[in-house]
Symmetry: C2
Subunit: 460 residues, 2 copies
């Protein structure tokens, strides 16, 4: 692959705002030379790759803009595989602005969102799935989403798919060669081997496709709704769960994140407690006659926690409520509160009524909460992907291409079984190749690139 | 000076929040070795100073936390003059937190606010005035405050004071030597030379002390109040001024700063328009019988702009209002609105009434606004410090020490003239030395350091 050195671009690479330092990244043809023209201290053009140099940046009238540390990266040994300069300056927005102005005056264009990563992709630093993982990695806010993004960044499933795609390309070439021979009924592509390859591919695709549900939950948080009658103890439970969590996140000073109310991290997975402000209102109840608002919440949820007062609920009430929860078709947990106040016999009666185990807790006494969080976590980890660290699809674009590839290969397999002509077979295989290619970026259009990289932040 | 290598500390050095990258700084004894223990890629302990190395940071169970670029700085060639490692990671708060946790688990303490700069000061990287300039530089949000901070960071007035202080120390030693000879009436310290030195010192101190008023305005913005009757055109004027400014600040994307309403930057100086929300209310007027609220605003202001409707004001009204403005004792501008609607003769009448030039504008037609902003700028630049780039004192602590030094030297000079005994002379000179020493940090106590560096941000 020939390396591209495009026109030089610059952007703030660190978060905006006030910090001790900020880093401005410059990449492209002439990045080192142009930066050198406004730098005093050393001749940057004479420095080795991966070396840092102290000096000053100068305005057009040679006034000092700032004392900076400049690190030089020479193509192709850089993030973009272009010449790159990273300018570490004092973290003042005023200085950052001055430096960016100065760089643009020196002939360096301001970078568009994601433009550095796009160049890295175009220069073969990584494939498209990996490029997209860069954005996911930056946005990751839980252990699970971080792990999924990092796994994708480091090759994850795309390496495997690339190999399989290459094998499939070879077969398609042979199948298409058969077409050249028209009526002669030759078979260059060994049908059994082709079938085996397609089965292999589906075996790789299926778990990836299945992982998207988990992956989506990992990336966006698990939409969890806690429903129950007003006196069931929902707010007590919520507070108990949230307070635990806050104590965990707040022990590292300095990197304080905005604490978002009503988010729970369990085993590294984020649970978004939907509209729990509403849930704390007395009006928000689940009754035998379902209230529309509660039903709407259940429809939006990925997981339902039905909490009831084990002491005061009647078996009839419980049965009706649970029936309603089940009708939602969503995964759910049945949680009985006031464990401390009721006896074994009553628990058994209620479990018999609903004909399944109930998770018993005491929200007020904060007992058995660990079992509850473990159960929440289990509901999300059903496919095991989170725990084993195997590849997880978190991106809807990837999911769409994987599904389309799988469909095409399924059609090709059926075609093989029913003995379709090579041209039909080739057509299905071409569709599969197209989707695999778009997934990993072997096939790209400007539209695809624009839609992917425009979602990036500037400086990435 | 012996270099200290204190226990290793770590902190996020870039602004908190989401960015493409973030930089975590580690400094102190073992910084390189301890970072190396959690880094995979190269042996950092074998790398030269000022070199950057790609690799991964690992958790305690060897899972990858992130792909990072680590730059090694070896003592004393670093900001703190200690061994320093800068870890450039993906700019996710989650990752930053994970890395800081990992570093602390490896035996590196989280840094306190300003601790890196404090270490740099203790290791003689710069004096106290320069150390304080680091914080000012980061906080600077205008050309003038940036220039003042940068000048201080690069030595500014403190180098000059250090030389003079050293000369003074030599004289004090001689004067104190005279004390040892008791009644013998010897003079080791040449009195004329001492007098000349003290005059020199005062010549350096005076402009610095005088510059504080400007310096304070530069650092904190010039508190400017626009007063006038409701129909005078204040809001039209304010909007015209502010819109101009907004157009100027918004042409660099990417580093968008929060636009704070009612701040004006003129020639790099920030003008804070005080309580202009209130000023836009119809109740906010200046009348011949002064309204308490308006008077309070004028008392708080550093600069008063009195705006009146040149077409409709009576000479009597104008005279009374201007009298009130003058009584405030503050610098002011008299600005006549509706220039387009009035003739020369009326302008002369009004100027005669107030017996000084009036700056005429048309707020609605936005004419002569440049003259107004130039006049605002002039009022602040009266001592010339801003334009010439000479040292400006922006820090109240510095101002206090400079004033106290000057007072002590003035007393010593008087003592010299009236022939006081050496012990009296030595006492005044000691006071001067003490204040000069505390100013630049030759004399420090833990309390002084704590009070200065605790105001820094973490990571600096």
């Amino acid at each position: 692959m020939t390396l591209l050195q495009l026109e030089p671009i610059a952007a703030l690479a660190t978060a905006p705002g006030i910090g001790a330092i900020a880093v401005i990244r410059v990449s492209g043809e002439g990045a080192i030379d142009l930066t050198n023209q406004i730098f005093r201290g050393k001749d940057l053009t004479q420095q080795h790759s991966h070396t840092a140099h102290f000096g000053t940046l100068r305005s057009q009238d040679d006034a000092i803009i700032d004392e900076v540390l400049v690190t030089v990266f020479r193509a192709p040994k850089s993030f973009t595989k272009e010449d790159v300069v990273e300018i570490s300056c004092h973290g003042s927005e005023f200085i950052i602005q001055q430096i960016l102005r100065r760089l643009t005056a020196a002939g360096i264009r301001l970078a568009k969102p994601g433009e550095f990563t796009q160049r890295a992709f175009l220069n073969g630093q990584f494939d498209l799935v990996q490029a997209e993982a860069v954005a996911d990695l930056i946005a990751s806010d839980s252990d699970a989403s971080h792990r999924a993004a990092l796994s994708q960044l480091r090759g994850g499933f795309s390496k495997q798919l690339l190999t399989l795609r290459q094998q499939l390309i070879d077969f398609v070439a042979l199948v298409e060669l058969e077409l050249d021979f028209g009526e002669e009924d030759v078979e260059f592509a060994h049908r059994d081997q082709l079938r085996q390859l397609m089965l292999n591919i589906r075996q790789v695709l299926q778990p990836l496709i299945d992982s998207f549900r988990t992956g989506n939950a990992i990336k966006n948080g698990v939409a969890t709704v806690i429903v129950g009658k007003p006196n069931a103890g929902k707010s007590t439970l919520l507070n108990a769960l949230l307070n635990d969590e806050r104590a965990i996140v707040s022990d590292i000073p300095g990197t304080t994140r905005d604490v978002i109310e009503d988010e729970l991290f369990i085993d590294g997975i984020r649970f978004r407690l939907i509209d729990t402000a509403g849930l704390r209102q007395a009006t928000d109840t689940i009754e035998a006659i379902g209230i529309e608002r509660t039903q709407q919440k259940m429809r939006d949820a990925a997981l339902i926690v039905y909490l009831f007062d084990g002491l005061n609920i009647s078996p009839e009430e419980l049965r009706e409520a649970v029936t309603e929860v089940r009708e939602s078709g969503k995964p759910y947990l049945l949680v009985g509160n006031k464990l401390d106040a009721i006896d074994n016999q009553r628990r058994q009666v209620l479990e018999t009524v609903v004909n399944e185990p109930i998770l018993w807790i005491s929200a007020a006494r904060q007992t058995h909460l660990a079992e509850l969080t473990a159960a929440l976590s289990d509901r999300v980890r059903t496919d095991g992907a989170v725990q084993t660290g195997s590849a997880v699809v978190t991106n809807a674009r990837h999911y769409d291409h994987l599904t389309a590839t799988d469909d095409a290969i399924a059609r090709a397999l059926t075609g093989l079984d029913t003995g379709v002509t090579p041209d039909w077979l080739a057509m299905d295989l071409r569709v599969a190749l197209q989707h695999l290619g778009e997934l990993t970026g072997q096939i790209v259009t400007d539209d695809i690139l624009a839609s992917i990289f425009s979602k990036f932040c500037i400086g990435k």
